[in-house]
């Protein structure tokens, strides 16, 4: 089989593969897409308050505050307000209106103290979250411990590189090519590759 025949056969095989996958995808794709997150709606007041806290934990800017206010509104209007201190919730709403985010966070957390204290141990996919803790930064300034670990790591890097050079193969690709050349004549395109 000539090289062109081989390439042509290879192209046909790959083309069939692409077509098969295309058909499979088209057959498997539903008419309307499903989304993982849905609309996140819940009627439980304390969960709505937690969602407000979640928004504030991730974004204290305008968008985060707006999303949180929407959740607080929902919590104030839902029928299921068991364990939620509505008075504190209303104060939290006012704090959000006034853009006092830290105060709003504290009030929101306080407003669901009773609800989260009565939660049973989490099962299934329940979060088990009672207090919404803020994100923890990777690090602050470098400590003595950081300098110690950093220095040891640098030393390991130097030692590792030195050993890698020490134990490198004796022949590079060009030398190997030269050694093996008498057995098989070099091919023009491969020689170019070796040179590069």
């Amino acid at each position: 089989m000539s090289r062109m025949d081989r390439e042509s056969a290879e192209l046909r095989r790959w083309s069939r593969l692409v077509v098969v996958f295309g058909v499979l995808l088209a057959a498997l794709s539903p008419a309307s897409p499903a989304w993982a997150h849905g609309d996140g709606e819940t009627a439980e007041g304390y969960q709505l308050v937690q969602q407000a806290l979640g928004h504030l934990a991730h974004d204290t800017g305008h968008t985060g505050v707006m999303d949180a206010m929407e959740k607080v509104d929902d919590a104030l209007n839902t029928d299921d307000q068991e364990g939620v201190d509505v008075a504190l919730l209303t104060r939290a709403q006012g704090a959000l209106d006034a853009d006092r985010v830290s105060e709003a966070r504290a009030l929101l957390q306080q407003s669901i103290t009773e609800a989260v204290s009565g939660l049973k141990p989490a099962t299934g996919e329940e979060t088990g979250t009672t207090v919404v803790l803020l994100p923890l930064r990777g690090r602050g300034g470098l400590t003595g411990q950081d300098w110690g670990f950093g220095s040891a790591s640098l030393l390991l890097l130097v030692v590792g590189l030195a050993l890698a050079v020490r134990f490198r193969p004796h022949d590079n690709l060009r030398q190997l090519r030269r050694q093996l050349a008498p057995a098989v004549p070099p091919r023009s395109d491969e020689s170019a590759e070796v040179r590069s």
Binding site: E10, G54, A57, D59, G138, G160, P169
Partner: protein
């Protein structure tokens, strides 16, 4: 020392104490079986990426053993226990950070290893089964990254879990394990923890051993820019060889250097931890390893993740059976190279798209 052919004569004149000690051990454990010859090109960095991946795995296992001493997989305590590791355990932030960066390294080096195998046609006859084992290991590494993300039990981890639960539903019976109903009295976090610390690494270790045994059986594939033997499947007998122990020695050197790099990254860029998880909101992006899938989700919904992943792994699985071109040199495989490049560019483009898409835009669809 470079040798050709029989390696039983390697350095017979050096009989120091260390050598005698090795002899004593060898008499009992047969460790000299590791001195089988490896073609010299196998010691190049690009051909040692599998070994570097194993080095990452070793770092992951060691740091993981430390972390499980302090991590509490109960939902009420998981997030706080990670905070405690970072803030109260001596060296805890560094160990956690090293675990994180080792996971990134393992993912990247495994991917690079697979790309090298693709470029050099090393998956071709008779090495198809070993390619499949490699694909399975890459799938397990992806699962390990996913479960590790969930174990932090912050908003990012919880949202990743939420996606996975929905994917489990789409899979029907096949996704039962990922359903909270599978063991409804046990938090799914506890089950994912067992998967992350026992099942997945255990399976990876078993496959690593199989992978290594098959590499030994079929030998390192020939370098496509060098001549092959008559079968076209092996390096020529004339190519210099080195004992496999020398290959291990070089991989160890790469592993030490990698540990240094990861240690520096761990000090300078330790990962943070997100806020406690809250159900019903989506405000984070997934880890970068999954960004291309989430762009697909933005386009076509949850099915995009499922079918994107299925198609990706299906392509990898059938590759050696579809690509029957015996050529290994990339210039003589224009179709495979073009399609491989297109797939890679597609994934990179989707990843970049997610990188520039605000997290909020991913919400509320």
């Amino acid at each position: 020392m470079t040798v050709t052919g029989d390696t039983s004569v390697v350095e017979p004149h050096r009989r120091g104490r260390a050598r005698r000690a090795i002899d004593v051990v060898d008499d009992r454990l047969g460790i000299r079986a590791l001195e089988y010859p490896v073609p010299e090109h196998g010691n190049k960095l690009t051909w040692s990426l599998g070994g570097v991946t194993v080095a990452s795995l070793v770092i992951l296992i060691v740091t993981g053993i430390v972390l499980v001493q302090f991590y509490n997989p109960v939902p009420e305590a998981a997030n706080q226990s990670v905070r405690d590791i970072v803030t109260h355990v001596w060296g805890g932030r560094f160990v956690r950070s090293l675990h994180f960066w080792s996971a990134q390294a393992m993912y990247v080096t495994a991917a690079l290893h697979m790309i090298r195998v693709f470029l050099t046609g090393s998956y071709k006859k008779p090495r198809e089964a070993n390619w499949l084992i490699g694909v399975a290991m890459f799938g397990l590494v992806t699962l390990a990254v996913f479960t590790g993300t969930v174990l932090k039990w912050d908003q990012e981890g919880y949202e990743a879990l939420g996606h996975n639960l929905e994917l489990g539903k789409l899979l029907g019976g096949a996704g039962l394990w990922f359903s909270p109903d599978f063991a409804d009295r046990v938090p799914i976090l506890v089950r994912l923890n067992s998967a992350h610390v026992v099942i997945i690494p255990g399976l990876i270790l078993v496959l690593v051993i199989l992978h290594a045994l098959l590499v030994k059986k079929h030998k390192i594939s020939p370098h496509p820019a060098l001549p092959t033997d008559e079968s076209g499947e092996q390096a020529p007998a004339a190519e210099p060889t080195e004992p496999f122990t020398h290959h291990l020695r070089r991989i160890t050197a790469f592993g030490i250097a990698l540990l240094g790099i990861l240690g520096l990254l761990s000090v300078v860029f330790p990962p943070g931890l997100g806020a406690s998880p809250v159900a019903g909101i989506e405000v984070t992006k997934p880890p970068w390893n999954f960004w291309w899938l989430f762009t697909l989700e933005n386009w076509v919904g949850l099915n995009g993740i499922l079918y994107g992943e299925l198609v990706f792994f299906a392509v990898l699985v059938i590759l050696p059976f579809v690509d029957r071109n015996p050529e290994r040199y990339w210039r003589r495989r224009p179709v495979a190279m073009t399609l491989g490049l297109l797939l890679l560019l597609f994934i990179i483009a989707l990843t970049i798209l997610m990188a520039v898409t605000p997290a909020k835009q991913h919400m509320g669809m």
